[in-house]
């Protein structure tokens, strides 16, 4: 019988618990122990098993999702994704990214860059991105 993948934390360590969880799971992901499509325990379950607050595990899962390792499913835990084909970010994350893009263009305008030039640069950038995908 093979051993299950295990994550370990030391509550007395100076390293925050969420970061210990991130490091533990990331190592298993990098080593290929956790394979794409595999499901991790729910936030609640892992929190109970480790004796930490739910938010600690949720934060760890979010960090790994932001890194493109996990796809978070409400109440159903997290699924390991193939990093070559990262999952689309959720709407909140997309809205946040778009807001950052708008803020950046507003900053350029505030600095005096001509609107036409900004638009031209964005179009060129869009061409590059579409060409790469």
């Amino acid at each position: 019988m093979t051993s299950p993948p295990i994550v370990t934390i030391d509550p007395e360590s100076d390293v925050p618990a969420y970061r210990q969880i991130v490091q533990g799971i990331r190592r298993l992901l990098v080593d290929g122990v956790l394979e794409p499509g595999g499901r991790l325990p729910t936030v609640r379950q892992l929190a109970v098993d480790l004796g930490v607050h739910f938010n600690t595990v949720a934060q760890a899962y979010r960090v790994l999702a932001d890194e493109g390792w996990l796809e978070l499913r409400r109440r159903r835990g997290a699924v390991v994704v193939d990093r070559k084909r990262p999952a689309a970010p959720d709407k909140e994350r997309q809205d946040y990214s778009l807001r950052r893009l708008r803020e950046l263009t507003a900053e350029f305008r505030a600095e005096g860059m001509p609107v036409r030039q900004i638009a031209l640069q964005l179009r060129r950038l869009a061409d590059v991105i579409e060409g790469a995908s």
Binding site: P5, I9, P11, L40, L46, L50
Partner: protein, 348 residues
């Protein structure tokens, strides 16, 4: 009745006797200790004193049942609580003595990243069976409304004679079934919680497998207990149909078979495998203790840890699970359970 009460005292003595010896490895009288401490001379002395308290309290309870110079019902009712109270005092004393030999439990916490099984033993139909049984009884009562006696017996004494009656109303007819349903829902919720959401203390090896079996067994026991409640509740309810107002519910020996069978199964399993499915002898992969801090246990009986998200944790005194009283949902759950008898009293 005297024989029955005496047997109950003897059974209780036996249960209290084995409790310290079915604990997880590294737990002795509710305290985390070094492996092998339970066979040390100090441990033997502490256990011996506890056992002497048990013998004395049990003999006192038996003497009370057989020879106390006051009315029989009262002395029988007093005997078991006296035995339990004296035994608890013995346990608390032992718990304090063992604390001198306490050692830190495992500080490193591990969790398996394997997702848990999602199938319930017996499936959903088996799980929801107790609720279906009471629903069936409720439908039978509604269909045979005119055949129900009026007034209706609503309470029976310990000899099985009705000693309280009430007008035949929807509340008096259906309240007992509703209360049984309510209690059953609570038990079924706990059963599912134990199976799927309680902490996995041992994460690998034979100890992890045994722990999973332990949860599965406890799940089945709770579902069977819910069936028992439903069957007894439904039979009592149905037997009122077409009966005279002075009806005796009867069939008490039958009603005793189910709880005795469940109790025997729990005792057998507890003695054979112990708490957590591994007991004192342990198993490969077993952790020391139960991963809860000693400081959060009062007398090794009551667990209060607001920092632990667990709703239920393994008992340190006895077999099975207890509430984490630092979890607000434990209080909500307990208040709901306590509301059931209150509802019954108000409805009838």
């Amino acid at each position: 009745m005297i024989l029955f009460a005496s047997l109950a005292v003897i059974l209780q003595w036996f249960v209290l006797l084995i409790i310290p010896d079915i604990a997880r490895p590294g737990i002795f009288f509710g305290v985390t200790v070094a492996p092998g401490f339970d066979t040390s001379p100090e441990a033997r002395r502490i256990r011996g004193t506890y056992r002497a308290t048990l013998i004395l309290s049990s003999l006192a309870a038996l003497a009370l049942i057989h020879w106390a110079p006051f009315f029989p019902g009262g002395r029988i009712a007093l005997a078991l609580p006296i035995q339990v109270a004296a035994s608890m005092a013995g346990w608390i004393r032992a718990n304090r003595q063992v604390k001198q030999f306490a050692r830190a439990g495992e500080t490193i916490r591990s969790a398996s990243l394997e997702s848990r099984p999602v199938r319930m033993p017996g499936g959903w139909l088996f799980f929801l069976g107790p609720l279906l049984v009471t629903a069936f009884a409720g439908v039978l009562l509604a269909l045979n409304w005119s055949l129900l006696p009026d007034p209706l017996p609503v309470h029976w004494n310990i000899q099985g004679q009705p000693d309280r009656w009430a007008r035949r109303t929807a509340a008096t007819v259906f309240a007992p079934l509703l209360i049984v349903t309510f209690v059953n829902i609570a038990m079924l919720v706990m059963a599912r919680h134990i199976l799927f959401h309680t902490r996995q203390i041992s994460v690998q090896g034979a100890a992890a497998d045994r722990e999973r079996e332990f949860k599965r067994f406890n799940y089945l026991i709770l579902v069977f207990a819910a069936y028992m409640g439903s069957l007894i509740g439904a039979m009592l309810a149905i037997r009122r149909i077409g009966a005279a107002p002075g009806i005796r519910p009867g069939g008490w020996p039958f009603f005793l078979i189910l709880p005795v069978a469940i109790m025997a199964a729990v005792l057998f399993y507890a003695i054979r495998y112990g708490q957590g499915g591994i007991g004192r002898t342990g198993a490969p992969g077993a952790t020391l203790g139960d991963l809860t801090p000693d400081a959060c246990w009062k007398w090794g009986m009551i667990y209060y840890n607001p920092g632990d998200p667990a709703f239920l944790v393994e008992k340190r005194m006895g077999y099975g699970w207890t509430f984490n009283f630092g979890n607000k949902w434990a209080w909500v759950f307990l208040l709901l359970i306590l509301a059931a008898p209150l509802l019954l009293a108000l409805a009838t």
